[in-house]
Each structure stands twice: as C-alpha cells, then as structure tokens.
C-alpha cells in the first residue's frame, strides 16, 4: 500500500494566486457599485430596483456587493447537459472540458473546391453531421448563416437541422426573445414537453453583454425567458483591451467579470437557481487592423484567467478554442488552435466554443473542425497525465530484458501500446528510397480526405419519424408566416 500519496490525474496549471483572484473580484464589485452598468430593459431594472440597486440612472445602474454576492450564491454550481434523447453527456462543474462548434458565419471554406463561398443550409447539415461523427467535438453551436433566408427564419431552420442531424446538445444563436420562444416551441417537441426540457436540457441559449458595461434589451429579455423556462444560459462577452476595455489585462478582466456578474445578478433575481454558464473572450484589439484577433496569445492568457475567476465562484466557464485568423488551412491555423486548445484544457474551461471558425469569425471550415478534433485528441494525451504503480513501473520487466534488449515481444507491450495516441491526419512517413516529398500525402491532404470521407459516409442517428413530421409542420408554418415558399435556398 501507498501512504500519504497523492497522484495527479492531469497537469497542474494556474495563472492567478488566490489573492490575485480576490483582487480582481473586488475590482469588479467596485465597478458595479461605483461606476454601474447600463440596463436597457424595464423588467431588469425593476428586478434590480427591488433588490436594492440604485436604478435612478438606467445608464449607470449601481449594484451593491451584497446583491451580487447573493446572486453568485444562488447560481447552480453543477449543470448537466443531455443528449437529444435524454442521456446525460456533459457535466459542467469545473472538472471537465468539452469542445464545441461552430457559430454564425456568412461564408464557408468549401472542402471540395477549397474556395470561399456563401454558407447555405445544406452546409449546416454537413457541419452538424461532421460534428456528430467527431468524438472530441461534443456539442453543437448554430452552424453558419442560412444564405438566402431572412435572419429570423434562418436561425430557426438552422436549429431544425441541428436537431435532425445530431443527438449532441446545441447552443443556438438567437436574435431576440421572440426567436428564442419559437426555438423553445421547436425543441420541446423533441423533449416531449417543456418540463422535460427543463429536467434534461439539451438546448442552451447564449447572450452577450455589449462591452463596456452595457446590457442590451434583447440579451436581458432572452436571459429572463431562459430563467423562466429553466434553460441553461451562456452569458459571454468579447472585450478588446485598449479599445472597449482598458489596455491593461487586470482592468480588462475586472470589466469582463463585472459584466458577467451583473447579468448573472439579473437572472438570479428573476429566478434563484436559474442555470447560467459564464464566460467570454477577453482579448486585445489588434492595433494594426482593429480586428478582434482570435489568434492572439493574449486571448489564451486572458481566457485562462477568466476561467480561474468563474471557477472561483464555482460557476462553469464558456471558453474559446478552434478559431483562427487564417484564411487557409495551414501553419497559422495549426499554431493558433493548438495554443487555444491546450490552454483551454489546462485551465479547465468547461464549455469551449468556436471550433471551425476562420478569418475573424466570417468563415466556417469543415476541415478546420476535423483538424481541431485531431488537436484535441493530442491535447487529451497531455491532459491525461500518467499513473504510477508497481505494474506501470514494471521494474521486473526492465530487469528481465536488461541492457541492450528490446520490448517489442513482451506481453506487457501488447497490453499497453494501444494506449499510444494514433494520428489520423498527421504525416509520419519517412522519406526513403522511392518516396519523395511530392509523393507523400501531407497533413493538409489527409485532412481534406478525412473530412470528405466523413461527409460522404456518416449517417447520424435518426430522430423518430413522428417527431420529424411534427417539426416539419412547425417549420412550414414559419415559412408561411414569412411569406415564403417552404423550401431551402440552394447554392447556384
């Protein structure tokens, strides 16, 4: 037996000390008490007023610390997400990291032509099928914009396709309260009623505060609906240090946190215990181009810090990885995404979004989704750590083989070598006689081939026929209400 022995099951990683975290926490409380936040919703103002906030100026609503701290206390610290068919699959409590993708992007990098073009509903279907197949992408975000459909209809049709093409949980992107209500009407068909949806959520909303320190009406109204229906709600913000927040990282994190806490407070005042996932993309503005740069190492650093902050409250974190500023699949995409995936995993962000996003979130790449799946697979090995015991130390075996021998014929090798990670798109060939650099299938070729193979062969688990029928009736009514013929626009 071992005595007083502690074993790590993953690498240990920490950026902020406890004192540093509490300093950021108090800075956020100070901002909320002294500077205040803009609240663009009467209902939210009423809730804050009732709780003791100073709402005399809706552009600077000042929230006392005790109100915020009470909200942190009532927010659930453990949220379970389910599959479409009600199986628990994602456990948000600060102990596991789950990657998901993609988001609303107008264009797609077509894996067949390798060219950029507008993103159609047929592409959404393909992206979802791809994610359904990939083992390391465990949940779905709305995948791409529905070219040719009005946005209000596009978000709903996209959600229909998410439900039809995968059982994995979905975070849609919603425009406003009316759209969210329509989506709830849709997903409750699959759940078998609103109470089942509340009990076993597989549909998670997301809203965004507008940095700095503004909560817009649409976001607040959606959050209040989620609280009412018990639908988990992601609150995440995108700060650009030097532009929409101060250029120093401590201030940027304090502002980010203040926005999240104040939004959380409104939700908890509406319904204590309403499930909320906090998070965001605290980042820099690229000071040469003014873009929100997904490839910035600062995004990785600040996201890891924000994860430590949200975990300090016991709340799950919504992070970012799998997105690149690059326009082609190549070195830049690989470098940026590996860094994001590794730091997200090390810090333990719970739900990590944006897999498959390119060119500053204007283009989705199915190949990038597959590449990120591979990267996550690699990172999983590092995150797995290692087990040390008599069997894994195998001193007897080392002694038996002795100096100069080999282990290829050993039972022990047969037992354990299968745990080695095997790449699916990394080129590990060695150039020998008859093999030249030109004749080798390189990573980008293997990636393209794998992507196409999945698209051409994977069939997702089907949804029950009666449910599909019911969904189609509802979908047809949306097209009718929009004055459109019930058919999806197709690429010319």
């Amino acid at each position: 037996m071992k005595a007083n022995y502690m074993q790590f099951n993953s690498p240990q990683f920490r950026i902020l000390s406890e004192k540093q975290i509490s300093e950021l926490h108090f800075a956020s409380l100070h901002i909320l008490e002294k500077t205040g936040v803009a609240i663009h919703s009467e209902k939210a103002l009423e809730l804050l007023d009732g709780a003791g906030a100073d709402v005399s100026d809706p552009k600077r609503v000042k929230i006392p610390s005790f109100v915020v701290e009470q909200a942190v206390r009532t927010a659930p610290k453990n949220i379970t997400l389910y599959t479409r068919d009600g199986k628990p699959c994602i456990f948000l409590n600060g102990t596991r990291t789950y990657f998901g993708g993609v988001v609303d992007n107008p264009d797609i990098l077509d894996p067949y032509t390798r060219k950029r073009r507008p993103h159609y509903i047929a592409d959404t279907v393909n992206n979802i099928r791809l994610i359904d197949y990939l083992p390391n992408i465990t949940w779905i975000m709305n995948s791409g914009l529905a070219h040719g459909l009005p946005p209000e209809l596009g978000e709903k049709v996209t959600q229909v396709q998410c439900l039809l093409n995968s059982a994995k949980p979905v975070v849609p992107s919603t425009l406003n309260a009316a759209g969210l209500k329509d989506l709830i009407e849709l997903v409750q068909i699959v759940a078998g009623g609103v109470s089942n949806l509340r009990a076993r959520p597989f549909f998670i909303n997301s809203v965004e505060p507008t940095t700095p320190l503004v909560h817009v009406r649409e976001a607040l109204e959606m959050s209040l609906i989620c609280a009412e229906f018990g639908i988990p709600n992601v609150v995440f913000n995108m700060l650009m240090a030097g532009a929409t927040s101060p250029a120093t990282f401590a201030a940027t994190l304090s502002v980010a946190n203040a926005e999240l806490l104040s939004h959380l407070t409104v939700i908890q005042l509406k319904k204590p215990g309403a499930p909320v996932i906090c998070g965001g993309e605290p980042n820099i503005m690229d000071m040469r181009t003014a873009i929100f740069t997904y490839g910035a190492p600062e995004l990785c650093l600040l996201s890891a810090c924000l994860t430590e902050l949200t975990h300090y409250y016991g709340l799950p974190m919504f992070g970012t990885a799998g997105a690149t500023d690059a326009k082609v699949i190549g070195a830049q995409a690989g470098i940026e995404i590996m860094h994001q995936v590794l730091t997200s995993a090390l810090s333990g962000a719970d739900l990590v979004h944006d897999v498959g996003v390119m060119d500053h979130c204007t283009m989705i790449s199915p190949e990038l989704i597959v590449m990120t799946d591979e990267i996550i697979g690699m990172v999983k090995v590092t995150m797995g750590g290692l087990e040390i015991n008599d069997e894994t130390l195998s001193l007897e075996l080392i002694d038996k083989i002795g100096p100069g021998g080999h282990f290829l014929n050993e039972e022990h090798t047969l037992k354990y070598f299968r745990k080695f990670w095997v790449p699916s798109i990394m080129d590990r060939t060695q150039l020998t006689a008859g093999l030249t650099a030109e004749s080798v299938e390189h990573c980008e070729d293997l990636l393209n081939k794998k992507t196409r193979k999945i698209l051409e062969s994977h069939t997702p688990p089907p949804l029950a026929e009666d449910l599909v029928k019911e969904i189609k009736v509802l979908e047809a009514s949306w097209f009718k209400a929009a004055g459109l013929k019930y058919q999806y626009p197709v690429k010319p």
């Binding site: 946005p151 503004v214 532009a243 000071m287 003014a290 500053h360 204007t362």
Partner: protein, 213 residues
C-alpha cells in the same frame, strides 16, 4: 514654405499639438492661406499617418493621437477656416445600422475620415434607414458609410439602400459598408458601392469616390 509644411506634417505624425499650433500661427503670420495649411500641412500629415498605418509602422492608438491633434488644431483655428475649406474633402454621413449598438470600428473610420479632410456627420448607433436618408438630404452628403457587427443587422444595410432608392437619392450618394461580419459578397448582394475591411481602406474608398464624382 515647404519646410513649414514639412514641419507641420511631422508634428501631426508625432501628435505634438502644442508645437503644431505654434507652426500654424507662424504660417498665418506669413499670410499662408488657411486652406493650404489644412491640406498641405495637416491633411498631408494624416496621409502619411494613413500610409504608415497600412504598412504596419503605426498602430491605431498612435493614429488616433495624430487625428486628435489635428482636430484640436483645426478647432483652434476657428473661423479662420471656412465651412467650405472644411468640407472640401467631401461630405460623408456615417453610422451603425438599426438594431446594432457596436461602434468602435465605425468611430475609428469616422476619425480617419476626418483626418483625411472629410466633413463627417456621425449619426451614432442604431441608425434607422430613414435617419440616414434625412441626413443625406440635410447635409448634402456625397457618401454614406454603414457599419454592422451583428450578423443579424447586416440586413438593415439593404433596407437603408432601399430607403435611399425610395427617396430618389440613391444615384446621388455612394454607399460603403463595413463591419466584422460584412463581406464583399454580402455588400455586393445588397447593392453597396464598396466594401472595406479596415479604416484606412474606408478612407481610400471614400477618396476614390470623391475623385471620380
């Protein structure tokens, strides 16, 4: 005289307002026309700033310092500069479209356009199509600049262009569109005259519009 203009240019680039005001006073004492000070000194300096931003030598906060410096000097020149001088570069109406409150990119474009000698009427955020139309009428604008950050508000750009058509103004103004999710394809789709992906590009396009007007 060229030396004085060169000094002004360099002070705009360095963002040194105190020294710049002295040079401008010198120039006035020497009887140099206000329009020449504006275009050969200040705006010529901002031109270089724009080029340096494009080539990656100058970063946005430095560019903004130059633009602020130049604006402060223009304000200090007061009535010495006529309305005609100030709008000689062109008149542009700019705003973030209806339903969208994101304005950092739009503000940056507005500042750069001012720096390039345009008279900029900034309508702010959440600008309804008819507000754009009215502003074009009131200010006799030659260009409209529209910005959107949300993928869902891009559609408002199309509506704004349609409103211009309805008002019979479409042929009188050039329309440029920008914002993170806007692409050339989308801009073509809804009938904008140009798409720009950065503030310097917006300035280039606006200058091209005025030159070919």
């Amino acid at each position: 005289m060229d030396d004085l203009f060169n000094e002004m240019k360099n002070l705009v680039i360095a963002g040194n307002g105190a020294e710049l005001i002295k040079r401008v006073s010198n120039a006035r004492e020497k009887g140099i026309a206000a329009k020449d000070i504006l275009f050969k000194g200040l705006i010529a300096g901002m031109d270089i700033v724009g080029q340096r931003m494009k080539s990656g030598e100058m970063f946005i906060p430095e560019v903004l310092l130059s633009a602020r410096t130049m604006q402060a000097v223009i304000d200090a020149m007061g009535p010495y500069l006529t309305e005609k001088d100030l709008s000689a570069g062109g008149i542009i109406v700019i705003g973030t479209v209806e339903g969208d409150l994101h304005d950092i990119g739009k503000n940056l474009v507005a500042l750069m356009l001012k720096g390039a000698g345009f008279k900029v009427i900034d309508l702010g955020v959440d600008v309804k199509p008819n507000v754009f139309v009215e502003a074009v009428k009131t200010h006799k604008a030659q260009i409209i600049g529209m910005s959107a950050l949300l993928t869902t508000t891009i559609v408002k750009m199309k509506e704004t262009i349609m409103a211009l058509e309805t008002a019979g103004l479409r042929h009188k103004v050039k329309v440029m569109a920008g914002g993170a999710p806007v692409t050339q394809n989308l801009a073509d789709d809804f009938g904008a005259d140009a798409y720009g992906n950065s503030a310097p590009m917006a300035v280039e396009i606006a200058k091209r519009f005025i030159a070919t007007d």
